[in-house]
Amino acid sequence: MKKLSINELKCFRGESLVLKGISAEINEGETYLIKGSNGSGKTTLLRVLSSLIKNYNGTILFDDKDIKDDLKFFQKFSFIGQKNALKENLSVSKNLKLWEILFGKKIDVNSLLQKYNLNTVIDKDISSLSDGQKKCLSLLKLKLCSVPIWYLDEPFVFLDSKNRSILVNEIESHNQSGGIAIITTNTELDYKSDGEIIL
């Protein structure tokens, strides 16, 4: 039984306490929403959970192992942040080549881009794409490695209804295969989740 359990998580940013003691139990195959207003620490929480921020109090256990001690934890999650990890002055296909190196595997470019109907922009520079297209490209990183946990930071921003339903389907099929998804949002989202963390 793989579950992510968060215990009394506290985190300081500078002098102010951003995360004020958060606890949650997220079981296999569940989707959690993190809600809160701007600047309430949603992104901080995701960065803590993905152990990019190591300076916190409390414990985070995944699969009954503390993520601080688990050296392999880095291979168990995908983090889609608000920055999209795309080089603005390079074309889509060249960016995918860079990802190929980072993820250490061959990418079948055409079938990957098919996912969000991005085949037409393959030779365009990133800077000429719309915000929505950049977001879709960024979300394609989820398909590059199969990991049990997905952290999605504001994934629905900029997406049109069609792409949104594609993403929702993606998340559902991820859940069905036993994966955990944690999504931050600051808008009311008509998304059926298994639980909420409110900051």
Binding site: G81, K83, K87, K97, L98, I101, L102
Partner: protein, 210 residues
């Protein structure tokens, strides 16, 4: 070892895809050197002396201009998150940055230097000590540039600030680099800056992560 190779490969690919590839850094050096006779006249005896100095000025300028490419561009678009996640050994990331940055920025100068020296009627025996110093000194300068780049990740994008931080740290390399007999001191300096750079850069990257 594979991850080191991968990261170097990635940086080289970025350099190759964008305008910052070897041809362009090489032409930068050639253009800086071409300016010398325009300023100092065509007296070849004087030019030879100035040429040896201009090499060091051009290499420190090129290191300053490309400082933000070491970590800042990756930080800005979020690739650094991905790199930190995929390769959780900071030392390997930093070493990869050293090597990639040195290949992109300093290797072109070292390759074209023998040809450039023909323009100033310098023989190979004249140029050989400079070449040795340049190889050692530029390595040290890249070490310094890397930790400056890692430490100033959170700063606003001001190249002048980074220049004020970087150039005093480069002064010892330039002083010993110009003297053809001081390569042992240069080696010592480079080794010291390697050690400092590993510590300081990983400190900077860790702070950025927090």
């Amino acid at each position: 070892m594979k991850s080191l190779y991968d990261l170097i490969n990635r940086d080289l690919k970025i350099a190759f895809f964008t305008s910052s590839n070897f041809l362009f850094t090489g032409s930068f050096y050639i253009l800086v050197v071409v300016l010398i006779p325009f300023i100092f006249g065509s007296d070849s005896e004087q030019l030879r002396v100035i040429f040896k100095g201009i090499i060091w000025i051009s290499i420190s300028l090129s290191i300053l201009l490309t400082l933000e490419r070491i970590f800042y561009s990756d930080y800005e678009d979020g690739s650094l998150d991905l790199i930190l996640q995929r390769y959780n050994s900071l030392e390997i990331i930093i070493c990869a940055k050293f090597i990639a940055h040195w290949i992109i920025n300093c290797l072109p100068l070292i390759v074209i230097l023998p040809f450039l020296s023909l323009l100033f009627q310098l023989s190979f025996s004249d140029i050989f000590p400079i070449l040795i110093n340049l190889v050692i000194g530029s390595t040290g300068m890249v070490f310094v540039a890397t930790f400056v780049s890692a430490l100033t990740l959170g700063a606003k994008r001001t190249i002048f600030l980074k220049g004020i931080i970087l150039i005093p740290l480069l002064v010892p390399f330039i002083i010993f680099g110009v003297d053809p007999h001081s390569w042992p001191i240069l080696i010592a300096l480079s080794m010291m800056s390697f050690v400092i750079s590993i510590y300081a850069s990983s400190y900077g990257l860790r702070l950025y992560g927090e």
